[in-house]
């Protein structure tokens, strides 16, 4: 499982807390970062086990 690539991609993405507002995903947005990493795994057919933000800190 390639956490590093997934995190690198996630950090180029944005999230929308309110309609019409897009904010960058950073190390300080743990939920959005984890959700995007999961999205990366899903879209690239990468199998993964349960993980958390704490597992990603190493790659930030």
């Amino acid at each position: 499982m390639d956490y590093a690539k997934a995190v690198e991609w996630a950090l180029t993405q944005t999230y929308s807390p309110f309609e019409g507002i897009n904010l960058p995903i950073t190390k300080d947005t743990p939920t959005e970062l984890v959700d995007k990493v999961r999205e990366y795994f899903n879209e690239n057919d990468i199998e993964y086990d349960t993980f958390s933000y704490d597992d990603l800190v190493l790659y930030l």
Binding site: T31, V34, V37, R38, T50, S52, Y53
Partner: protein, 135 residues
């Protein structure tokens, strides 16, 4: 959400309120129960448990639940007699206030939280925080 204190396990967010992140944005990918570490709640006069969930499954309801245990894995009953609380809200911050666990920290000095899901989510994560008001 999205504040620096998620990086630290414990963070003081005010003079009289302390926050402990029991589950830090967990991307749940199985149905096994997950336990937090043990939290010493003896110095708090009030506890609030908050969660923020984006867990989702395109075809099934995920049905996440939370339970509170003491430090010897004995489940704590809520005032209504159940041992679990449904965490069904999606993309929402929900406070579980004193209605269920108002006397929790007068009985238990140490607790741990458990979360589990009925169906495996295919996206999202869940964060659970314990906020304690210091005596």
């Amino acid at each position: 959400m999205g504040r620096q204190e998620y990086i630290d396990t414990v963070s003081l967010v005010g003079r009289k309120v302390e926050e402990f992140v029991a589950f830090n944005a967990i991307a749940v990918a199985d149905t096994s129960a997950k336990f937090s570490t043990i939290v010493d709640v003896s110095k708090y006069k009030k506890i609030i448990i908050e969660y923020y969930s984006t867990l989702n499954n395109a075809t099934n309801d995920v049905n996440p639940i939370m339970a509170v245990y003491d430090d010897s894995y004995k489940a704590v009953k809520t005032h209504s007699g159940t041992t679990s609380i449904p965490l069904n809200a999606r993309s929402a911050l929900v406070q579980i206030t004193g209605t269920d666990f108002s006397s929790l920290n007068s009985i238990y000095t140490k607790i741990r939280l458990q979360i589990a899901v009925g169906k495996v989510p295919d996206s999202g994560s869940i964060t659970v925080k314990i906020k304690g008001v210091v005596n």
